[in-house]
Subunit: 151 residues, 4 copies
Amino acid sequence: MTDAQAPAGAAKDALIGMEDLDALSDRDAPFVQLFGFKTERIGFGEATIRLPYNKDHIRPGGTISGPAMMALADWAVYVAVMGAIGPVDLAVTTNLNINFLRKPAERDLIAEARLIKLGRRLAVGDVSIHPEGDDEMCAHVTATYSIPPQT
Amino acid sequence: MTDAQAPAGAAKDALIGMEDLDALSDRDAPFVQLFGFKTERIGFGEATIRLPYNKDHIRPGGTISGPAMMALADWAVYVAVMGAIGPVDLAVTTNLNINFLRKPAERDLIAEARLIKLGRRLAVGDVSIHPEGDDEMCAHVTATYSIPPQT
Amino acid sequence: MTDAQAPAGAAKDALIGMEDLDALSDRDAPFVQLFGFKTERIGFGEATIRLPYNKDHIRPGGTISGPAMMALADWAVYVAVMGAIGPVDLAVTTNLNINFLRKPAERDLIAEARLIKLGRRLAVGDVSIHPEGDDEMCAHVTATYSIPPQT
Amino acid sequence: MTDAQAPAGAAKDALIGMEDLDALSDRDAPFVQLFGFKTERIGFGEATIRLPYNKDHIRPGGTISGPAMMALADWAVYVAVMGAIGPVDLAVTTNLNINFLRKPAERDLIAEARLIKLGRRLAVGDVSIHPEGDDEMCAHVTATYSIPPQT
């Protein structure tokens, strides 16, 4: 994980491109289209994903629902893993822990994921979710993915 | 929690009825309709919710997606809380932890939630998710709800 | 996990004996002696461990400290894993999630662990902790162990 | 949390001093002496705590045990909470989630805690644990404390 934690200027390139990622999400992740997630950035072990503000996924009061944030964080870690190991469609989440911190403003949400561990069998990502233009996190997530043995 | 943990025969009645619950979900929980959750049972601090098998929410290979299971568990604990304190639309999830245990069979999923703590400020629920007709859990969840001060 | 979830009457035997377990704990787990954990029962994927009430590990008010409960749960899952796969001293915890539910009575604490997943690479255990003679859980834990490749 | 997240140069002072903290730990936290935790720094919603390398708390292979790291993180969040609200001895952990990321080097461990939420009823802290002189995290923790109503 030295690489994934390297300063931005020294970051290694992502091992997956946007086209391969789109192909994976079309095939593997029905909720990506359901929620309209947009990949803003992929790096080696890093990803930034946007959840557009959408009347279909809000709670009364206008805030985006918890399940939408959980789906967003799960997908952000998946993209960060793909950025570090390349397209592997069998990586599966084994654990996800989310703390909801405050009611988000009525805006797009941005998830910033980075891997804090990249092992041969497990990868662990840390995600902060915040409304666009607002540094205060509305939710924090850690998620573990199991990486299939490479043949 | 003595009550919520009482044997089935002695269970206290739920403090919310199906009609009030439907009204809450129409108003508060857009994902309930999105996923088609069906409330099979509400008790005092207990709930059983069904996620119908639906081609829109599966991953390749035919299994229901992780985010659908997280939404299901979150909703099941919410219903269990409503069953114990009555309709209160400001209860919010503060923490959710999910362990994905195995690939579920291609069937409806059933979430069984029960509260393991019911305090004045916090309620904690334990949820097992399994495919219909199969006792093996495919996911296990604990979730904490913050209960608003009652006026 | 069919086996580990089988009714008590049909339980498979543990794959580790008390002597091997004691040898492992003397060698691997300094906190077992520190806290005085006592193994009450080992089954296939199941374990019951006692934390004796001890003035050295209490908080003011006489309740056993949170860290003592976390250590107890971690050890209980380890013993349950050993019961299912035999003595393997390289199994390591990858994730532990604990919910503290209520202040325990001033008594010994009992941890009941059972595996809810036993895979080739990961095992997941569910633990309830309650004071002796009191069915109300004071803490609930899930923990994941990584199992080393068997040669 | 604007304050707790302010850049270091602008940080508000801690609302507890070292003497009050020592008094609290002597009275409330038996494991602080057990493990020999040393408070390196307290800020408003921030704390840095050292776990001295000690033969009594290691696993074979020379690495510090998981339970010692869980106790360390729990204490670090407690100190960060005290730094933000002043000495309150009834704050209790309600949830703690830890991911063990890699085997730490045989050195003192340093826990860096910061609050990511400071509400009237709940505070949530994020903790990274790393060996002294090594930036790679060996464990990552989030923990929630319940704050008693202030009279």
